[in-house]
Amino acid sequence: LQDIIQAYKSGITLQGNSTSLGRWDFSGSFFFSISTITTIGYGNLSPNTAAGRVFCVFFALFGIPLNLVLLNSIGQLMLSGVQHCAHHLEEKFHWQKKATLLIRICALLTCLLLFLLLPPVLFSAKEGWSYEEGFYYSFITLTTIGFGDYVIGMNPDRTYPGWYKNVVSLWILFGMAWLALVIKFCINLLE
């Protein structure tokens, strides 16, 4: 029985009835590339041919530093945005140093809400997971562990709106940049 299951799992990509994220058309390949260069690596799709694997190796070799540069710049952008806000509010209300700390805590809480607490609501609406499962999925994705037990867009019985994949990709990008920023701050605090 195990062999049948294995054969099914490898054969599902050949059949035409799987979702667009489960086969090698443009959306599925794009999602695969994203999962490779962010090093999440779900594994729902992975190259089987020798040529595909060789290409994947070189693709990852150049793509991962590129992704790191992008994450760093997005992080810097977010940080400068927060500091800009703090500066603005300081001028308006004439608060002293306390304002920056307050603004930072506020920003941290908003980002926490936006990147970790709100997306599970979206996932439970679109994927039919519970809130806990959605939260677990968000956490495992943003820390780039990426088990692959939960993957978005893999249920052939559900229809996904057009904007769904793009919004999730944006969320992954900004969420990872924010998490990297938080880790940097923590390390700076420890020093």
């Binding site: 029985l1 195990q2 049948i4 299951i5 099914y8 059949q15 009835n17 999962s35 490779t36 090093t39 999440i40 690596g41 779900y42 594994g43 992975s46 020798a50 694997r53 994947c56 190796v57 990852a60 070799l61 150049f62 991962i64 530093p65 590129l66 790191l68 540069v69 760093n72 806990e132 677990y136 956490f139 495992i140 820390t143 780039t144 562990i145 990426g146 088990f147 692959g148 037990d149 052939p156 019985d157 880790i183 923590c186 390390i187 020093e191």
Partner: protein, 395 residues
Amino acid sequence: MALTSQPLRGKKRCKKIFWAVFPHACFILSLVIYAFLGALMFSHIEGNRKVNSSEGYRNFLQGLWSISKNLSDNMTENEEVFKEKIYNLLGTFQHEWFVDPKKIWNFFGSLFFCCTVFTTVGYGNTYPITRTGKYLCMLYALFGIPLMFLVLTDMGDILATVLSKCYNEFRKLQEKILASKLCSVFMCKKESETKSRRSLLMNSKVGINEPLSIVEVLKSQSALKRKPGQYRNAEIFEMLIAREKEYTKLSRTKSIERWSSCPELERGKTMTSVIENFDKIGKELEKLDVPILLMILVIFVYISCAAAILPKWETNLDFQEAFYFCFITLTTIGFGDTQLQHPRFFLFLSLYIIIGMEIVFIAFKLGQDRLIVFYKKVISFCGEKKIMPKKIYPK
């Protein structure tokens, strides 16, 4: 006096080595303890999961039996019918029906799982199913990943120093060979002049390392002659200022050395130096400057070593597949498409994996820096449409 100081000096050296190695060993030991604790926790929680045959499982089996009962003897006809009917049935399949939790979540299995969590590889061949297991997994990752990151950065310093030393030795050797070749070809009378000038031009990264007069500087910077006068003056002033800074730095280090020759201060120095070393974690890594192609070559050689040994006990992997698997693991992507038959043996390679992740981490850091430099050049080229003069500074 001289006879009694010999064993003392040996003891001091031992103590020095111990205190130098201690912080690094501390980090690695804490990571190992963390992994073992996690393995115990997960094997307890997930291994004792109650396996109750759910309704869905029973329906699935019944559906399978009824399909196979209604098949005729014709093979080709069977295939069509089977594919169609089984597709809908297999859509309801759940992975946890067919796995025995006690077999998968024994100590070594849980240890393997914990390693995939805090290295963020995350294969996905084992994953927590119970609710407590999932929450515990998230908590474990929250503390394990920064710890792993700390260990990586700490060992990366060692690796970076080793790499840069090797590379510098290699460059020095290269220069010596080149200089000796030139000596044999040209007349040896002019050799001393050309040698100093050539060493200046070749060490574009190191810059000015011999005291040169301004006339010699002007002569050697032949490129400066082609530029307008104002740039030339600015360049010369900047180089002079940089050289002054070098001299003051040298004199400062000399004064510190004189101060530290006091014996009473030696005793307290080891502890403060150990504590200071904690602040220096990651600084060596930032200073590293070797060509990125060399790093890529090192990575490929390193992975090929493992890919050559791995098929010895994983019989269904050939060299190419083992290479792909090692690469996907070391970059922490971790698809999980390649199943290991003996995960335990892979754990024994954990030192290899840490060093491998190190090397990949360093290579990606270097790649990042090179990319940023490249982007800056492109943007300045597009923005100003003027080729900036090449700046030669001591680093």
